[in-house]
Symmetry: C2
Subunit: 272 residues, 2 copies
């Protein structure tokens, strides 16, 4: 299943501060990071192209990108191919009359996979449509990738489902304002035996009657919860680690405990 | 639903080192802790009455207690009534030809609730029968209690189910030999908005061809993952905290996010 996948992946998170509404400038900044990073996989924050604090749904709709029209996604596709880098980034996605808080997974072969956030946080409920499809796993040249977006972290069901579906790398674009997530991803990594890459943003936004400060602390955790790389709370930084995705396929915590096969779903009624 | 429940509960964990096979002495030690603790709820480690490292199933069977026969459970029932303390402790349970790694919840009114560990760790699979009933929630004078035993922690489904069933306090007798659990209970507390009381043991056992050192670090965590009390890695200690179980009933992380009602089970297929 993974014979065509590299043994080692240089995976990174680009923690930065998008400027609200400055799509062109934000993308130019992202392009610069990608061109200079020399990584196989790069994860960016949630809503990296637009910024976070939309005043309302109309503003989110206006600043959203379309997958099939416009130059932005095409630009990332070209860049992925040119640099042979798998890219994951958050963006506001316009689709017909809908607008989603989405994450794009763009591969060097030109394929684009989109996940639409299914658990919207706080005011996002008034700005976005909730994701309308289950989270899924995409096999890429760097391993099998599942995506979460920010607040999805608090629902263990999502990462669990991705792990059951074979995910090796959980790519997690975020705009976190608390530190509960960074401390909880230890459990997400360990309970599923997966690598987790949480890419948060930095900076402060004050647009919709409240001031939000994002907490940085982007991190890459091993299958045993070891911090392989971590960013500061405030800086714009690229963090990275050389990881071996296939180690996630050994789910044996002991010779008698396979952490997925040891599940006893007959006693979990009520979760679905 | 909780009108008959105390507002505040003094809840504790008794971290100690059971002597293998010395049931009478271990129970005497537990009795001493209970009589001196002046707490409303006390959680003891897993297999507190027997010790952990049985050489085989026969030995576990021999050292097991029966719920309805013998003096041991009756002694705890009397003690619970006399001290007005809710007790939770791990023990090997014999039932007909079966032997389970169980946890007893004993209340001052004489009621006894037993949970049989459903996820056996490593060699336990050769010593115990797997739990044959789903984990459940019991309403007590100190709040609604759900029990985990040790390795159950790594399966987020169990605590989630208990939270969905109304648990406020997760009582978690353990015999942990790693430190993955202690670091992961932060997520269990936060993702379910419950108090977690992990009571680990200390000491070393070397009986079945391997040496096991238990890692202590018993802890009581708040609904937001705050460490309310924590024990050392090696000492026999009583830790405690005054907690308010009803705060767990407010599952709103923000005014727009109820962490249980925000679940989207239609996208979690495959967990059951």
């Amino acid at each position: 299943m993974i014979s065509d996948v590299s043994e080692m992946t240089n995976a990174g998170c680009v923690q930065f501060c998008p400027a609200f509404g400055e799509t062109t400038a934000n993308i130019a900044k992202m392009v610069g990071f990608i061109e200079n990073a020399d990584l196989d996989l790069i994860v960016f924050p949630e809503l990296a192209t637009s910024g976070y604090e939309f005043k309302n749904r109309d503003e989110a709709f206006e600043l959203a990108l379309e997958l099939d029209n416009g130059a932005e996604i095409a630009q990332f596709k070209n860049l992925s191919a040119d640099t042979d880098t798998v890219l994951v980034f958050g963006f506001a996605e316009r689709s017909g009359e809908k607008v989603y808080n989405s994450s794009a997974l763009i591969e060097p072969d030109g394929s684009v996979t989109v996940y639409r956030k299914i658990h919207l946080f706080d005011q996002e409920k008034f700005r976005f449509d909730p994701g309308d499809r289950p989270p899924g796993v995409k096999t890429t040249k760097v391993g099998r990738i599942g995506m979460l977006i920010c607040f999805d972290w608090i629902f263990p069901e999502v990462t669990r489902k991705l792990a059951l579906d074979g995910a090796q790398l959980i790519c997690h674009p975020s705009n976190l304002v608390l530190d509960l997530c960074q401390k909880s991803m230890f459990a997400r990594s360990v309970e599923n035996c997966v690598f987790t890459l949480t890419c948060n943003r930095t900076g402060t936004e004050n647009r919709a009657g409240r001031e939000l400060t994002f907490t940085g602390g982007s991190q890459i955790l091993s299958t045993r919860g070891k911090t392989l790389a971590v960013a500061s709370a405030e800086g714009e930084e690229v963090i990275s680690a050389a990881i071996e995705p296939k180690v996630t396929d050994d789910k044996n915590l002991t010779s008698n405990n396979h952490i997925l096969k040891d599940r006893r779903p007959e006693f979990y009624k009520g979760l679905e």
